[in-house]
């Protein structure tokens, strides 16, 4: 099908394009931008006056809960939520049940995703068998099955030696290793940042050093092995500074941060708000500002949703007994755009952190609007209000502290591979 979208403000942070210009789509790809090629006869014309058109969002960390925890959410429910949030590609971490440590799980997830709304579901393979942190997973087979990277989710590795060998082995197949920077023993039973709030509430804390000590070990091994490593979900200013320095030194490392870390702090945990129980924990205002600056400067080149939907029982209990995580797919774009509103960074840079930035980390062709790129894009009405209400929420997990917030601008359509994956319901678009 050939489609011509006219009069949209087209923003492509990957190329720096920001202009009202036509976009031509042929089949699943972008045929042309800027000028309609001669002889192009669109079957359909879309007048997108007043709307923005930008690349579909690439989310580096979204738990869809399938297989294994379908009582929390399913690939079908969560890809709908993703599409509503303007996300066209999600990466599923390997800690499903069973974990993604063999081609069977990769294929299962791909098959389920094909039956869903069209959002691309990519998988991250396990670094170690069963995520137990001891024996290596069969990474070559995982790569053949289609994983975009390997990692151990947030499960600990038995020793730095296992990490070293895993990095070396993954590098053999040019597989990126995605790691969490959180030392398990320094974390202990901690459930909040170790600081003034943990002291006040008497909750076991996770010190900053749990992140920086682990990160120091990871960076030393990157230097040793030359492996390509991505650090998933930083939480401290100091950690962001270490990544910035390592990148400046030329190490092949990148990092992302969860969108909620840029807005919430340890103070939001008081008094025992289970919706703000996340891992890594919300830290201090100083950490939040440090993370924001690193995102603005591009030292942290991706912002992810860190989507972790839960059934309501998971959040009903004394704080430490509740499950960590925020359902984040539907607020990734609004929160990222809020950074622009708050004057932290220009629109194009903010969009880059959720499109070209994460796509480049994975080496994907998406996240851009160039000719020949997949026709994954978002139509966005900057004038409308986006009230986050329980009624309009699509994720099966309603565990979000942002429900009740109002954001400016909302997604009207999300397209994947030249087809709409989500359209704003007519009664809402008035």
């Amino acid at each position: 099908m050939s489609i011509l979208i006219e009069n949209a403000r087209v923003i492509d942070p990957g190329s720096g394009l920001d202009a009202v210009t036509p976009v031509c789509i042929q089949g699943s790809e972008i045929l042309a931008l800027g000028a309609v090629p001669e002889g192009f006869e669109p079957r359909r014309r879309i007048d997108a006056s007043g709307l923005w058109l930008f690349p579909g969002i690439v989310d580096l960390s979204a738990h869809l809960r399938e297989p294994g925890e379908e009582h929390k959410a399913t690939i079908a429910s969560e890809t709908q939520a993703a599409a509503r949030g303007g996300i066209t590609t999600v990466v599923v971490p390997p800690d499903t049940t069973p974990p993604i440590d063999s081609p069977a799980e990769v294929e299962l997830i791909s098959r389920r995703a094909e039956q869903a709304c069209g959002v691309r579901v990519l998988t991250m393979g396990a670094l170690t068998r069963g995520l137990h942190g001891e024996q290596l997973a069969e990474m070559a087979a995982l790569k053949r099955a289609g994983v975009v990277a390997v990692g151990n989710a947030w499960r600990p590795l038995a020793s730095p030696l296992v990490l070293r060998r895993a990095m070396e082995y993954a590098a053999t197949f040019d597989l990126m290793v995605s790691l969490s920077a959180q030392d398990a023993s320094l974390t202990g039973s901690g459930c909040v940042h170790e600081g003034a709030v943990s002291t006040r509430l008497g909750l076991p804390g996770i010190p900053e050093a749990a992140e920086t000590a682990a990160l120091g070990g990871i960076l030393a091994l990157v230097e040793q092995t030359g492996a390509r490593v991505h650090v998933n979900r930083l939480s401290t200013r100091r950690g962001a500074e270490m990544i910035a320095k390592a990148r400046a030194d030329g190490l092949p490392v990148s990092a992302d941060v969860a969108a909620h870390q840029l807005f919430l702090t340890e103070v939001d945990v008081a008094d025992f708000n289970p919706l703000c129980h996340v891992m890594p924990p919300l830290r201090t205002q100083r950490d939040r500002e440090g993370l924001r600056d690193a995102v603005a400067r591009g030292e942290i080149s991706a912002v992810c949703s860190d989507h972790q939907p839960h059934e309501s029982d998971s959040k009903l209990g004394p704080f430490a007994e509740t499950r960590p995580g925020i359902s984040g797919l539907e607020t990734l774009l609004p929160l990222t755009l809020r950074l622009v509103e708050e004057g932290l960074m220009p629109l194009s840079a903010a969009l880059a952190r959720i499109t070209a930035g994460p796509a480049d980390i994975l080496g994907l062709g998406s996240g851009r609007l160039s000719r020949g790129a997949p026709a994954d894009f978002v139509l966005f009405d900057p004038e409308a209000l986006n009230e986050i209400t329980p009624e309009s929420w699509l994720s099966a997990g309603s565990n979000s502290p942002f429900i009740g917030w109002t954001f400016s601008g909302r997604v009207t359509e999300t397209w994947v591979a030249g087809r709409p994956a989500w359209t704003l319901p007519a009664e809402d678009s008035a």
Binding site: L201, D268, L316, P318, A320, S398, S408
Partner: protein, 335 residues
């Protein structure tokens, strides 16, 4: 854009401030979850009310009909003898019906959630829960989820708070020492894991105590403890100098297993309260301990049983303070 308030829904909501959760709109005590945030007036009102019950407790007939017909459940998820029995006695002296439930040996092991336990007991038309739980925030959680009109008293939640213990300690100090503004008070020991210490620190600061000190090795102090309004000492001799009251905390045996300390022996050498060390404090310095004491670990028997010790009075006053809190949350006053 400014975030606007969420519409009412069945979703778990962000928590209100401790005060709005434990106080009624007109400022009366609805639950007692934490000392933090209580006004000085309210704290004094509790102590004054306890004073009237303390006098009554010394009489031959120790019972008043203030809570006749009310049902109080002591819901203990952690073992306790002293706290549970004093709550039970307090309830009985107010003529309430009391039910003791030790959940560590019943539902929790069968996988029943705290909320299920709560709902089942509520169905039995309970008026008040006295809850002790190993998790910080458990009492807040219950208060947020109980039916209107039911009160929750926190009898200790994790490392967070033990408000009635702190109140009975304040009662004891007030009885023996009077004006808090002139006092220097040291809390010695495992501050990191202590809900008692946290509640005491809040209470002492609300009562505008002259100086509040904590004395402990770094490994037993929580991060930014000075933000709670205390002066930090790592040396017991210095920490005891010129104090009017010393409160010793219990040292749990498992602290050695988790590398907080090398040994009980070394702890006693450095932080144990002995007669010799007590001489460094002001003459007549009160010695307090929330119990149960580890003799020879944090306190020498000669001190625990000595003339300056008010450890047993603390237990006695605990009944009056708990009667005061129970009657106040039920909206009745003793006289």
């Amino acid at each position: 854009m400014i975030p606007v308030a969420a519409p009412a829904s069945q979703l778990p909501q962000a928590g209100p401030l401790p005060n709005s959760l434990q106080l009624t709109p007109d400022g009366r005590l609805q639950h007692l979850l934490t000392v933090e945030g209580l006004s000085r007036d309210l704290l004094n009102e509790i102590l004054d009310t306890a004073e009237s019950f303390a006098n009554m407790n010394e009489k031959a007939v120790k019972k008043v009909p203030l809570l006749r017909g009310k049902t109080i459940v002591n819901l203990f998820f952690e073992a306790s003898t002293r706290t549970r029995t004093t709550f039970e006695l307090a309830a009985k002296r107010l003529s309430a019906d009391v039910l003791n439930i030790n959940v560590s040996t019943s539902s929790a092991v069968k996988g029943e959630t705290l909320l299920d336990t709560l709902r089942n007991l509520e169905a039995m038309n309970v008026d008040m829960f006295v809850v002790r739980h190993q998790q910080s925030g458990a009492a807040h959680f219950m208060a947020r989820h109980v039916e209107p009109g039911i009160s929750v008293l926190n009898a200790g939640d994790g490392r967070h708070a033990h408000p009635t213990q702190a109140l009975l300690d304040m009662f004891t100090i007030r009885r023996f020492k009077g004006d808090f503004t002139r006092l220097k008070i040291a809390i010695v020991g495992d501050i990191l894991h202590s809900r008692v210490a946290r509640s005491q620190i809040h209470a002492l600061n609300i009562l505008q105590t002259g100086e509040v000190r904590v004395v402990a090795p770094h490994s037993l102090l929580p991060a930014h403890v000075e933000d709670l309004g205390v002066h930090v000492y790592h040396n017991l001799e210095q920490g005891l100098h010129d104090v009017d009251v010393v409160i010793m905390l219990r040292l749990q045996r498992e602290r050695m297993e988790h590398a907080h300390l090398p040994s009980e022996h070394e702890y006693f050498q450095l932080f144990g309260l002995t007669r010799r060390r007590l001489h460094l404090a002001k003459p007549g310095c009160l010695v307090m301990h929330p119990g149960p004491a580890n003799r020879g670990v944090e306190i020498d028997s000669a001190v625990a049983d000595g003339a300056q010790s008010v450890i047993l009075q603390q237990v006695t006053f605990g009944i009056a303070v708990r009667m005061a809190v129970m009657s106040m949350v039920m909206g009745v006053r003793g006289s």
